[in-house]
């Protein structure tokens, strides 16, 4: 009898130990923080090619360089091609709440109000908000984990991000598929600001490789479901956690 009792205690101890030893399941909040860490490195530099496919099938191609600092809080974008926009630059601070545009032809810097962050960047399907919002996933939305799924053969977490009441963003909610292996979003659905059921845009990321040890999608395709347009963005060069001075993210530097 005593032996049986000891066996029971041992079994209970064993089961409890195994249960305690297991990782607690990740919550939506845990996952989105990990996503944010991957997405927003301390500093980043990239050279990108952006190709806009219009409703009529025409294409417009831009090449630009961008720098970001403080986990995406500061962003600077400078256009290299085509000649029409060569030298134009955009400075976004405070997660794109403050935007300055530099027109190289007129040498004028124009400060834009925050409503401008909803504008299409050079007519593309990416808005300034999409490009420079930094940690908006955490600051502007609450995350809830939905049922896991598979996208493009990758095992993914599925998150629903719902806009916080006080947040000033262009989307009522987002549905994000995050690759379990590296916490990189592979797909994001953007839902309308006024109609949370209406899908406005979809971002698909592919060609995932490591750059400076950081998982990076070298190709992004944003599709506007309403306008039936598409913008493809391709990284030509990416570097992370390189030294960048604060002085790069000033109006003075914008004019250089």
């Amino acid at each position: 009898m005593r032996i049986r009792w000891n066996i029971c205690v041992f079994v209970v101890f064993l089961v409890t130990s195994v249960m305690w030893g297991q990782d607690a399941p990740l919550t939506g909040n845990d996952i989105i923080h990990r996503v944010n860490d991957v997405f927003n490195q301390q500093t980043a530099y990239s050279k990108s090619r952006m190709t806009i496919v219009t409703t009529s099938g025409n294409t417009r191609t831009f090449v630009y360089e961008s720098w970001s600092k403080d986990k995406g809080e500061k962003n600077l974008v400078r256009y290299l091609e085509p000649g029409r926009v060569k030298g134009q630059a955009i400075l976004m601070l405070n997660h794109a709440d403050d935007i300055w545009m530099f027109n190289a032809r007129t040498q004028r810097v124009r400060k834009l109000a925050s409503h401008a962050k909803k504008n299409k960047m050079e007519g593309s399907d990416f808005s300034y908000e999409d490009m420079g919002s930094g940690d908006a996933f955490i600051e502007d939305y609450t995350a809830e984990r939905l049922e896991d799924g598979e996208v493009a053969g990758r095992d993914c977490y599925t998150l629903e991000l719902t806009r916080k009441a006080e947040a000033d963003t262009s989307y009522a909610r987002l549905v994000i598929r995050v690759i379990k292996d590296n916490f990189l979003p592979i797909a994001i659905d953007y839902y309308d600001e006024k109609d949370p059921e209406r899908l406005r845009k979809q971002l698909l990321q592919s060609d995932i490789r490591e750059a400076d040890g950081v998982p990076t999608a070298f190709t992004m395709v944003m599709t506007d479901r309403g306008d039936n347009t598409r913008t493809e963005m391709e990284f030509l060069e990416v570097r992370y956690n390189l030294p960048l001075e604060d002085g790069m993210f000033t109006e003075r530097a914008l004019k250089k």
């Binding site: 025409n58 417009r60 000649g83 007129t106 040498q107 409503h115």
Partner: protein, 400 residues
């Protein structure tokens, strides 16, 4: 004229050769655009056309990380009606005062030209930027009107067109955070005639602020008196001292800006200019902007507009003939490549207005088309009255 053109071309060639022979072709950038333009005007029951071909060639050469040389040449040819008499656009009660023999003096002629628009060296150090040479100078936050900008005057229906370069030395010194101090010297024949500018720029919250102190030699002309010695209208040069400021930011979700300048004048009465504007982009991507402009050099009663007011306005010596004006701009992306809009410039002082539907279309990555029609609505003699005529502009720009 031909000799000066030759000299400029030779200088351009030498410059190019120097840059290329330096074995650093990869650092020399050559770009620019070709711009054919058509302007049509219907006035006094006649239709006139002016065609322009403009070729702009830009050079940029990075001598080192800190030193940059940049320049551009403009080559412009004019065709069609190359001589425009300003009197054709004024009310008959004003033109009747002008004796027949002096009427040709009011002609503005468009001559083919080649000129060095900008050429400057920029030195950038952590503690300062120094720019020396012919350079663009852009002041103020206004979209259509800039009271603090004594160097440029914008076309109200085409306010974003690039401005010419000005010979100057400019120093920009960062003063911590979002603050910078700028000093500019635009040399003329003597120190007292030269332009001087001091600007303090700073930011707080969602706002940027600028304070400007400027002194320039300002030349008004008396367009009713001819100076035989100068073979021109009588010049009235005098000091213009300006204290001004501007602010841009966001208020209740709207983009807002304001700009003010008070001018102490040596030759005429002192005056001030004020601009207040706001803009908003709707979710539909429709963009709306409005800007109010007051210039106390302008008259509040159109019956007081005289020949000098009009001529000084056309010669960019003063920015308006009427005291209070309102600009409204509405634009919507009709497609990804086509933007349609309408501009409306209203003289609040006399009730006349210019209405200009606009369109801009992206033909390809490096080709864009811009067009507007303009309709003058108001009786003769008013700021945007019938005597201004109706017209339009069609501009193609091909970048390389």
């Amino acid at each position: 004229m031909k000799r000066s053109i030759g000299r400029i071309c030779l200088a351009a060639f030498c410059l190019l050769a120097m840059c290329l022979s330096a074995g650093a072709q990869e650092k020399l950038e050559i770009f620019g655009y070709y711009e054919p333009q058509y302007v049509g005007t219907y006035v006094n029951e006649s239709y006139y056309q002016l065609f322009t071909n403009k070729l702009r060639v830009d050079l940029r050469y990075a001598l080192s990380e800190r030193i940059t040389f940049a320049a551009n040449f403009d080559f412009i040819t004019y065709h069609g009606k190359r001589q425009w008499n300003v009197l054709d656009f004024l009310s008959s009660d004003l033109t009747e005062q002008v004796p027949e023999p002096v009427r040709p003096l009011y002609v503005i002629a468009f001559e083919n030209e080649i000129f060095l628009d900008n050429a400057f060296l920029k030195l950038s150090f952590p503690a300062l930027d120094l720019t020396a040479g012919k350079q663009q100078i852009s002041l103020g936050t206004g979209y259509v009107w800039n009271p603090t900008d004594v160097f440029n005057t914008k076309d109200v229906l085409d306010p974003t067109y690039e401005q010419p370069g000005h010979n100057a030395v400019r120093l920009d010194v960062p003063a911590g955070g979002r603050s910078t101090v700028a000093a500019l010297y635009a040399p003329e024949a003597s120190w007292s005639e030269s332009g001087k500018l001091f600007e303090l720029k700073t930011g707080a919250g969602r706002f940027d602020f600028m304070l400007d102190l400027i002194e320039v030699l300002w030349v008004f002309h008396d367009y009713t008196r001819f100076d035989p010695g100068a073979q021109d209208f009588t010049a009235l040069p005098g000091k213009r001292r300006l204290v001004g400021g501007s602010v841009v930011g966001e208020l209740l979700g709207l983009g807002v800006w304001a700009e003010f300048a008070y001018n102490w004048m040596e030759q005429i009465e002192d005056y001030y200019e004020l601009v207040m504007g706001g803009d908003y982009t709707f979710d539909s991507q429709t963009y709306v902007m409005t800007e109010y402009y007051r210039n106390t050099l302008g008259k509040s009663d159109h019956r007081d507009y005289d020949l000098n007011d009009w001529m000084r306005f056309f010669a960019a010596e003063q920015k308006a003939v009427s005291r209070d004006q309102l600009y409204v701009f509405l634009q919507h992306p009709a497609t990804d490549l086509l933007h349609l809009g309408v501009q409306n410039v209203l003289s609040l002082s006399d009730g006349s207005m210019a209405l200009a539907p606009t369109a801009s279309y992206s033909l390809s990555d490096n080709v864009e088309l811009f067009a507007y029609l303009s309709f003058s609505i108001g009786s003769e003699g008013k700021a945007y009255g019938a005597s201004n005529g109706h017209g339009g502009l069609l501009r193609l720009r091909v970048y390389f």
